[in-house]
């Protein structure tokens, strides 16, 4: 393979330097290709448009998976985080998730220098207006200044920017997010090349002046110092701040209801569909009338700023209404708003038009990642970014794409959901989306994925070596427990009421040889072995349907017994295997059995 390197010709061009674009461009560059990343504003690389935090339920899993593949997000947050916590400690080890508040300015700086430190990466501030496509294959992009850049693969990671429209009350303006230009032309180019777009909406909270908040009466939430860093490369983190909890009340709700007629959502000005799991405060007040209060977390955005993010108060009401209802909340009686909350509408590409590699089915060499695919969230974006970057690189190298299965990674679940189910609201990861949740834990992300990272060439030697060492320790401890005193402790540990700590005294000497982290992994493994093997059985049972391939030219229209809706769905998504077909929403088990009869086992 010969890599290109001139000022306007590259192996891979990544459009956008948000969370998806960062991972995509780093992956391609670190895998040895010449890559360019083009973004509208170089000061906003890795900008956190909404919440100044990384991780959270199921998202913490994604971050650790990205790290195990060789991505940057975990390292970045370990170094720039200012408060770290583990959620769900009591609900079971598989759904335990890590979350960190970021110093959002430091995070951006970290990411910018990460990009700059890669010699294979060219960094360009500009706006991409269109794609160049020849014979169904992408060949480059055209900038708003008219220059043309060429590449064998293009990865679009344009986030909320495509024909972005910001709403504050009934006032609106074009922007990619507050303070950034919108990308107004690229959508048209996508449509011209045969892609189908939809429109979504999301929103964010006002940002408050911390000097005008009275924290004295509010509940404080501290970070945890024994937090396990996101990246396996990192040894420790620093907790620098606390966050604070307050609540809305009846007066808040009344202030909101009074001005509902000035909400773009309720007047029908906003057409895009918003996320149900992340409703605006006006939505919550209207839909859940009986709820007397809603919880608000006050989170500081940076050590270098007094701006606070009131988590739970996303709104697109007019500015004066925002101030009104805010001031009815305890601690915020005298608050000043620095930046208003707003909603944004934007175009997305219906993700059912993608392959599992994140390459579009229609246009060869064109990859899409991040919010452009209908997702929401930094981690979801980064997860797709790294996969698109890896697969663009593998394609250019003439190798098979990296496709993670649903039982291997949350990333696999995420991409498979997008492609087989599509999405009509911004898609966010939940642990409940993963049917093999017990297998996909944060603690074993490295065991699950480091080998993939190594094989693609993205994972660095340092992280790989750490993983190997841990795997070794894990295996040693397991076999010790299995053999020591005829496996007495192994069996003991299986009981729900026994943990390693309670038998640690008896085994002290032996256990001391092992990392705390390894010990807890082993404990979990032993405890859950029964459940895990149950899930493994199911995986094997279903795996056989992966072998039933659906011919590319199968004509669904003429299969008796399939309803019109089913045929339409099949035609649109064109599943490649029976197991893919079975996951498409609206495809009934009966329809699957009909398809099964038409397929040959490979």
């Amino acid at each position: 393979m010969e890599t290109k390197n001139s000022t306007n010709s590259f192996d891979v061009i990544v459009v956008g330097a948000g969370h998806a674009g960062i991972e995509a461009s780093l992956a391609a560059a670190r895998m040895g290709l010449s890559a360019a990343v083009i973004t509208i504003n170089l000061d906003n690389i890795g900008q956190m448009s909404c919440n100044p935090a990384i991780g959270g339920l199921a998202k913490g899993h994604l971050v650790r998976e990205i790290d195990a593949l060789g991505g940057e997000m975990g390292k970045a947050i370990d170094k720039t985080g200012i408060q770290f916590r583990t959620l769900n400690t009591k609900k079971g080890p598989a759904v335990r998730s890590s979350r960190a508040q970021a110093d959002m300015f430091k995070y951006k700086t970290y990411m910018k220098s990460a990009l700059e430190s890669d010699q294979n990466l060219t960094i360009i501030q500009s706006m991409v207006d269109s794609l160049t496509v020849k014979n169904g294959k992408v060949s480059g992009v055209v900038l708003w200044t008219g220059e043309e850049l060429s590449a064998d693969a293009v990865i679009l990671t344009t986030g909320t920017f495509l024909r972005g429209l910001v709403h504050i009350g009934l006032f609106n303006y074009k922007a990619g997010r507050a303070g950034d230009f919108a990308s107004n032309k690229l959508s048209l180019s996508l449509i011209e090349n045969g892609l189908e777009l939809g429109r979504l909406k999301t929103g964010t909270t006002p940002r408050l002046d911390g000097r005008t908040i009275d924290f004295s009466e509010l509940e404080e939430q501290k970070g945890e110092d024994d937090f396990i860093p996101f990246s396996i490369a990192d040894k420790k983190i620093n907790n620098e701040i606390s966050c604070y909890i307050t609540y809305t009340n009846k007066n808040t709700h009344d202030a909101i209801l009074k001005d509902l007629d000035k909400s773009p959502l309720y007047c029908g000005v906003i057409k895009g569909i918003g996320p149900r799991y992340c409703p605006s405060i006006e939505d919550k007040v209207v839909r859940f009338k009986d709820k007397e209060r809603h919880q608000i977390f006050l989170e500081r955005e940076s050590l270098d700023s007094v701006e606070y993010y009131p988590n739970g108060l996303s709104t697109s009401l007019p500015l004066d209404t925002q101030l009104n209802f805010l001031r009815s909340i305890k601690g915020l009686e005298n608050v000043k708003i620095m930046r208003p909350g707003y909603a944004i509408e934007y175009d997305y590409v219906l993700p059912t038009q993608l392959n599992h590699s994140l390459e579009t089915k229609k246009i060869e060499g064109l990859f899409l990642a991040g919010q452009i695919n209908g997702t929401s969230g930094y981690e979801e974006a980064a997860a797709q970014g790294i996969i698109a970057g890896i697969n663009a690189a593998l394609k250019i190298k003439g190798e098979k794409p990296l496709i993670l299965r649903r039982d291997e990674a949350y990333i696999g679940v995420l991409i498979d959901d997008l492609i087989t189910l599509g999405t009509s609201e911004p898609y966010r990861m939940f642990t409940s989306r993963a049917e093999y949740r017990l297998l996909l834990r944060e603690d074993n992300a490295d065991f699950r994925l480091c080998e993939f990272g190594k094989k693609t060439g993205l994972l660095d030697d340092e992280r790989y070596a750490i993983y190997k060492e841990r795997l070794d320790g894990f295996n040693k401890l397991i076999s010790f427990l299995k053999t020591y005193e005829k496996g007495k402790y192994y069996d003991l540990l299986k009981r729900p009421d026994v943990d390693l700590e309670s038998i640690a005294n008896e085994l002290n000497e032996e256990l001391n040889k092992f990392d705390k982290d390894i010990i807890s992994r082993v404990e979990l493994f032993v405890k859950y072995e029964g459940y895990i093997s149950r899930q493994n059985e199911e995986i094997n049972r279903l795996k056989k349907y992966d072998d039933f391939k659906i011919e590319d030219d199968m004509d669904f229209n003429f299969i008796p017994g399939l309803s019109i809706e089913v045929v339409e769905k099949l035609n649109k998504i064109r599943p490649k295997t029976i197991s893919e077909a079975s996951r498409i929403s609206g495809i009934t088990p009966a329809a699957v059995s009909i398809l099964l009869m038409r397929c040959r086992k490979e």
Binding site: K91, E435, S593, I594
Partner: protein, 468 residues
Amino acid sequence: MSSLTYEIDTICAISSPAGEGAISIIRASGKDCLHILQKIFKPYRKDFSDIKPRFLYTGRIFDLQTESFVDEAVCVFIKGPNSYTGEDMFEIYPHGGVFNTKYILEIILKSGARLAYNGEFTKRAYLNNKISLIKAESILEIIKANSLKTLVIANNELSGLLEKKIEKIKEDYIYMLASVEALIDFPEEEFENLNADFIKKSEETAGLIGGLIESYENYELNKRGFSVVIAGAPNVGKSSILNRLLDKKRAIVSDTPGTTRDYIEENLFLSNKPVKIIDTAGLRETDNKIEHEGIKSSHDQIKNADAVLYVFDVNDLSENEILTDILEEKKDNLIPVINKLDTFNGKDLSIIEKKLMRTFEFANGPIFISAKTGDGFDFMKKALHDIILKIEGSVMDDVGITTVRQKNLLVKSLELLNNAKDKFKEGRPLELISIDLRDGINVLDEIVGGVTGEDVLDMLFKEFCIGK
């Protein structure tokens, strides 16, 4: 099932019952239907090519091998997918003879169809997504129904009432799952009353599933019919009562005590209900080996009976230890019957009634009859009918399950639900409870079909206030 044969085969069968009738019905389904029909059916005054689906045509059946016409018949072609099986179908209504019907079937088989397996038309309807599994089962149950009750239950299943009930259970299940998932995926939210709600819901749902499981016992009971045993001392007229009920001389009657040795079982309808009626050997101490065996089996029959008619001779109400035991066991479902009313020579029947009620603790008052004249039989039947209705009482709700398959799945689902409930109460990890609930739903799904992860999220967002 091999996939290829399914696709190619056209199946065919005689759909009317065996034996002679006015007309017979032969039915076929599969992609060769039109082709086969064209070979064997010549409509009057029309070209075959003018035949329209869903219209009836009269014509003649042609035998290709002998090149002769063999019958005159009415025929209809139904184009898939708007047919019972979802495939192309035809039906032929020939004259209802045994030979000609079979011969026409042979002709069709020779023209490229194969004989259908039992229930294969319905199976294809299911496979082609025309009906759910549960509906397919109900159709078979309707065919097998032997009483109004079983027919109603099976029909309610067909019309979707059972499915609705299971859907309701599933919805409750999804609600519980959504509760657990809400607690897992939204740890920072405040959820009021969620714990109490969960436990309440799980108990309610367990009740619903339990109810359906029980409904199977009732359906089974209905299906096999109720059994009524006629018991009593020798020579009191048990066999005579049986004969009168059946309206024929089925059992030997004689004035020698111990005439009936082996029990005699017969079926009859009692206001629409199939009832199995069993005459038994008279109960007494005996040295006779054969009679002894007979009496032993009488006891077994009584034990398994749904209702017992315990017969006395009006002129001889001797006390009876054996009766006390039986009474103990059958209680509400035992009717004392005083026979040979025609021979009564005392003054006042009410004295007899009082004496009887004083001696035994009957739950039901005695019925006076005469097997010889038939007097009192209407009252006896009415009393019997009342008992049957009472037993059926728990099936008041005519929606229930009808197959062991459904029952086994429900039992499994209930077990998983109870696991989840117990774990929840014990405070075990929610992620494990979620697995039990999911499995429980999946098992339910095997009865009807399809829950997706999206269903859970839908419920979650509908029911819980969530948002960051």
